[in-house]
């Protein structure tokens, strides 16, 4: 369990669901929030240090591995690592080619980044839930911090900030390419001219408004669904890991059952983390393909 044996299960869960937040306290001081309430009070101008740390660390891991292989990439017989990397690149490339009909050099690298990065971030879910938080607490305790107030959430994709950060990035690209390819007029026309069409002038304002609402919802739903789908899946998965780990404190029989359950859930989760990374990538490519497509 967490730092002390005296905490209750609900405290344990709450502790695991709180980010290590850096921001401005209501009294004007900048610092790390010691409780979930303090973190909430910091409002918008705060940063989840743990999410950012793991997110960037894993991003750099991805970049470093792929860059290293890319530097040594040759047309000769590929070695083990190059083979592995090329397999992923080929997989992404095939998917992009299958879903994206236009020509854009950004799409495939974007897909590769999304797939690998999200996969790595999701993969943190398979690290035992207490391992890294506990280590962090012990290390923080060495520096005199109260371990009860040291938070460490290791799966960045269970933080909606992370998933929304990426989906908004995709959304910006959707808007950018919609306007770049179709022009402002074309894009607005697409938002207002469909799905209801009319030749009668007096009906135009009504169809325009209705279309704008429908298409607007359609457009906004893209980044929201992207972010929430990933967040929801990973959050639920992590929650179950936390609940299973609670079994370890309920006697030897429950602990053994919990161990078996954790193994089964982890195996199942391997599928989910890969699938979610894949879905995020494919939907991004599809949305960008729609942004490039000329409608009539």
């Amino acid at each position: 369990m967490a730092a002390s044996d005296t905490i209750t299960p609900s405290e344990f869960i709450k502790h695991h669901l709180t980010n290590l937040t850096f921001g401005q306290h209501p009294n004007g001081d900048w610092g790390i929030a010691h409780t979930a309430e303090e973190a909430k009070e910091m409002g918008f101008w705060a940063v989840h240090l743990d999410s950012m740390l793991w997110s960037i660390l894993l991003g750099i891991l991805f970049i470093a591995v792929f860059r290293k292989v890319a530097l040594r990439a040759s047309a000769g017989v590929p070695g083990g690592m190059q083979n592995f990397v090329e397999m992923i690149v080929d997989f992404v490339n095939d998917n992009v080619r299958g879903s994206f009909s236009g020509k854009n050099d950004l799409i495939a690298p974007l897909g590769l980044t999304i797939f690998c990065w999200i996969f790595l971030m999701n993969l943190m879910d398979l690290v035992p839930v207490d391992l890294i938080p506990r280590i962090t607490q012990e290390v923080a305790a060495l520096f005199g911090a109260d371990p009860h107030h040291v938070y460490m959430k290791v799966v960045p994709t269970t933080d909606p900030n992370i998933t929304f950060g990426m989906s908004i990035g995709v959304f910006i690209l959707i808007l950018y390419y919609s306007i770049k390819i179709k022009g402002v007029g074309g894009f607005v026309g697409e938002l207002t001219g469909l799905p209801f069409q009319t030749d009668k002038v007096w009906l135009k304002p009504f169809t325009t408004v209705v279309n704008l609402i429908l298409e607007g919802v359609n457009l906004i739903a893209k980044p929201i669904s992207l972010a929430l789908r990933l967040f929801g899946n990973m959050y639920a998965g992590e929650m179950i890991f936390i609940l299973i780990s609670l079994l370890y404190s309920a006697g030897i029989a429950f602990a053994i059952f919990g161990g078996a359950l954790q193994f089964v859930w982890a195996v199942f989760h391997i599928l989910i983390i890969t699938l979610q990374a894949f879905i995020f990538m494919v939907l991004t490519v599809v949305y960008l393909d729609l942004a490039h497509a000329e409608h009539h």
């Binding site: 921001g23 101008w45 940063v47 989840h48 490339n93 690298p109 980044t113």
Partner: protein
């Protein structure tokens, strides 16, 4: 679970990683893979060409072998013909030689016969004269009756 500045930092990190991947990771990998693809295609084409050439060479070898066999058969037929010719020739020559030798032998025999006859004739004449001499010792002059004795001897 608060929405805060983390979102923007993530957005920024996302942009940087995508940019880096697009600039420094994707192109070399894809280039290498495309190059390898081209190389493999080339290799396959070369293999196919090689096979084709091998087929051609096999066909050529077969043709050459066929021609050589034909030539060999021809040469053998010629040789047989020539051998037959030589044998024929030798046989003719042998026959001729045999004939000649036979003729020579016959001539010699004839000569010998004639010689023997001549000697015999002389002997007979001598004997006749000797007999006549013995019978007619007195009255008969060998020189006077030589003509008669010779004509008798010639009639033998």
């Amino acid at each position: 679970m608060n929405i805060n500045l983390t979102l923007f930092f993530q957005l920024l990190a996302f942009a940087v990683f995508v940019w880096f991947t697009m600039k420094y990771v994707w192109p070399p990998l894809v280039t290498a893979m495309d190059e390898r693809k081209a190389k493999i295609a080339e290799g396959l084409a070369a293999a196919e060409r090689g096979q084709h050439e091998q087929e051609l060479a096999e066909k050529r070898a077969k043709d050459t072998l066929h021609v050589a066999k034909q030539q060999a058969a021809e040469i053998r037929a010629n040789a047989e013909k020539q051998a037959a010719l030589i044998i024929e020739d030798a046989r003719d020559k042998a026959k001729e030689e045999g004939g000649r030798q036979l003729a020579a032998a016959q001539a010699e025999i004839e000569q010998e016969t004639n010689k023997a006859r001549e000697v015999l004739r002389a002997k007979v004449a001598e004997l006749a004269v000797l007999g006549a001499e013995k019978i007619l010792r007195k009255e008969i002059n060998a020189d006077a009756h030589k003509d008669i004795v010779e004509s008798v001897a010639n009639q033998i």
